[in-house]
């Protein structure tokens, strides 16, 4: 573990990887490239194949088809214990019959590291997770957060070029989770190791990652930075999974360059059109929508009327859920200085056409997300 070393993480390359259990495809043609030293998060709803992807990389599960390279070499058929990849599990998986110190020393003993060197590296790893004083305790004498930090130290003590983490903070409370997220980020910076992190919490993904791969039903929908996924979602699923969003559906007419959507009698126009025969829908981020009392509307193209269904005070402003005329709901955020609304107030929403995303409809996204 040398904090001053240049990037020494391993690249990962999955090409068209599939994993079938009987006729069910847990992974269906996943391709993903992770740069050396990158912090990549696999994000997606339950059952979308995140853990399976991690298990395939770690060697706990064999791929059914496809190519898998770690650090430039194919690892298909290489057993897990020969891959030299650190893994942190959601359930900690510390050995209950060994002290914290013995647990962390375990991978070093297996590698025949001398006693003195072992002690030095164990101390260093425990220092890194601030658990040095607990070396003589047994795992059963530690809290969940402390156990996870020990598990983390054990997974990095042997200097793996790649660290995999499967919802490592899933069992911890929110405060502790947020603090450990920052710790993980710090350690990633110090080590330069490639991190692959699994979560279904999009906020966690945004806090931690260089890039995020969004999983859905055994496939990757999109890979990109948090900002890219938020600003430029390629699919309706990604748009809805990352951040708050409003989806407008209705009868669509497209001419050469723009698309008009009839949302319960009100027409909205977006200066874009979809290629192909997909049904277009409009996706809007809360901050692109302005909320006003009826008749006070500024001179923007698109207006939608509705009533306030839910008002949430956020401290820094308010968040409203607005019931539109067609029964669907829109999410709007307003600043502190702006006027407040109460439930059942009639309102109008407006947005500029160029701020809207035009995406292909995907009814299954509704099912997966709710």
């Amino acid at each position: 573990m040398n904090p001053n070393s240049p990037t020494r993480g391993a690249a990962i390359d999955l090409q068209n990887v599939s994993k079938a259990y009987g006729s069910f495809r847990a992974l269906d043609g996943v391709s993903l490239h992770v740069e050396p030293g990158e912090f990549m998060t696999l994000l997606g709803p339950s059952g979308s194949g995140k853990t399976t992807t991690l298990n395939v990389v770690a060697g706990f599960t064999e791929v059914s088809s496809g190519a898998l390279q770690v650090g430039g070499r194919s690892v298909v058929g290489v057993p897990a214990h020969k891959r030299n990849i650190g893994v942190v599990f959601q359930h900690y998986a510390l050995f209950p019959h060994m002290t914290v110190g013995k647990n962390v020393a375990y991978p070093l003993s297996l590698r025949g590291v001398s006693k003195a060197e072992r002690e030095r590296r164990v101390a260093q790893a425990l220092d890194m997770v601030k658990m040095r004083d607990f070396a003589h305790r047994y795992p059963s004498e530690l809290s969940g957060g402390q156990q996870q930090r020990v598990a983390f130290a054990r997974a990095i003590v042997f200097d793996p070029p790649l660290l995999l983490m499967d919802e490592p903070l899933g069992a911890l409370d929110k405060k502790l989770r947020e603090w450990l997220q920052l710790e993980i980020k710090r350690i990633h910076r110090e080590l330069g190791t490639t991190f692959v992190y699994v979560t279904h919490d999009q906020e966690e993904a945004l806090v931690l990652s260089d890039r995020i791969a969004v999983f859905n039903k055994g496939r990757i929908e999109q890979v990109g930075t948090g900002r890219e996924l938020y600003d430029e979602p390629k699919t309706l699923f990604v748009g809805r999974f990352i951040g708050d969003s409003t989806v407008l559906r209705g009868q669509a007419r497209s001419d050469g360059t723009s698309t008009a959507l009839d949302v319960a009698g009100q027409t909205v126009t977006v200066p874009r059109r979809l290629d192909g025969s997909d049904t277009p829908v409009v996706l809007l981020r809360p901050e692109k929508l302005a909320i006003r009392r009826p008749g006070q509307m500024a001179d923007t193209h698109n207006r939608l009327s509705g009533t306030i269904a839910e008002a949430i005070y956020l401290g820094s402003g308010s968040k409203y859920e607005v019931r539109l005329r067609d029964g669907s709901s829109a999410i709007v955020r307003s600043g502190l200085s702006e006027e407040g609304f109460r439930i059942d107030d009639p309102v109008e929403l407006c947005f500029a056409g160029q701020d809207a995303k035009l995406l292909a409809d995907d009814k299954s996204a509704d099912a997966t997300l709710t």
Partner: protein
């Protein structure tokens, strides 16, 4: 809820009675072993160590004791190895097949001992195993195996297999994982299986009576033939020694099993 004092006394008394009924016949051998006369009458008359001396000095007794010890030790090791392997095999099998095989392996526990003894005797006559060490070891192992299987399976059930995956990720091959993670964590189960196997073989009498001959007698067989021949209180002395030994063994086994259960909570 407060209990009526009368109920409490009655309850205590009946518990005491049942307890007495259960252990009294066993405890009777203790005073009898110090009998001053050569008689198995109860209560004993006088006090002497002579029956213990007889047990040590009379070759008939000491030989049979060492025979039993030899058989029981070999059986304990053999049954433990086989039973542990079987438990692992069943653990990794499809549930339905495993259930069937498990029942098969446990039959020696439920089949009446005499039936098993007749069967074994018939086979041994043909194969000339009557009165041999091999014969005793094979027969007793059949009887001891279920105990090991049950003990090891119980500890495998609470063993967290995800620890094996974790060990693999840290660089441990299958053998290293077994040695450093699996074995230490299920060791209490294996050890208690070993103790039960030893005890099963050491005091086995039914099958032993069938397959014994004058050249190879185990201690229970010797006790039985001695008591049917004459009223030798050495039997009581041996009984007392065995009582102490098995109490320690089984008590140890139960203690280990209990500790394991708590340790995995």
């Amino acid at each position: 809820m407060a209990m009526h004092p009368c109920t409490r006394v009655m309850l205590g008394l009946s518990c005491l009675l049942v307890a007495l009924w259960l252990v009294a016949p066993t405890l009777v051998v203790v005073p009898m072993s110090f009998n001053g006369n050569k008689s198995l009458a109860f209560p004993p008359v006088g006090f002497s160590w002579q029956w213990y001396e007889n047990f040590v000095s009379n070759p008939e007794w000491s030989t049979s004791f060492f025979n039993s010890l030899k058989v029981a030790l070999i059986v304990a090791v053999l049954a433990t190895v086989l039973g542990t392997l079987a438990a692992f095999g069943l653990d990794r099998m499809k549930a339905r097949t495993a259930g069937l095989l498990r029942m098969l392996l446990l039959t020696p526990m439920v089949v009446p001992g005499v039936v098993l003894a007749i069967g074994i005797y018939a086979v041994y006559l043909d194969t000339q195993l009557v009165g041999t060490l091999t014969g005793f070891v094979l027969a007793h192992t059949i009887l001891a195996l279920p105990f090991v299987l049950i003990a090891v399976q119980a500890s495998l059930e609470v063993f967290d297999k995800r620890l094996e995956t974790a060990a693999a990720s840290l660089g441990a091959g299958r053998l290293a994982t077994f040695r450093t993670v699996t074995l230490p964590l299920i060791a209490p189960g294996i050890l208690s299986g070993l103790l039960f196997a030893f005890a099963t073989s050491f005091d086995e009498i039914i099958v032993s009576l069938f397959i014994t001959n004058p050249y190879l007698k185990t201690l229970p067989v010797q006790i039985f033939s001695s008591i049917t021949r004459d009223a030798d209180p050495t039997v009581a002395a041996v009984g007392t020694i065995l009582l102490c030994a098995t109490t320690i063994l089984i008590g140890g086994g139960l203690f280990l099993m209990g500790r394991e259960r708590r340790g995995n909570l």
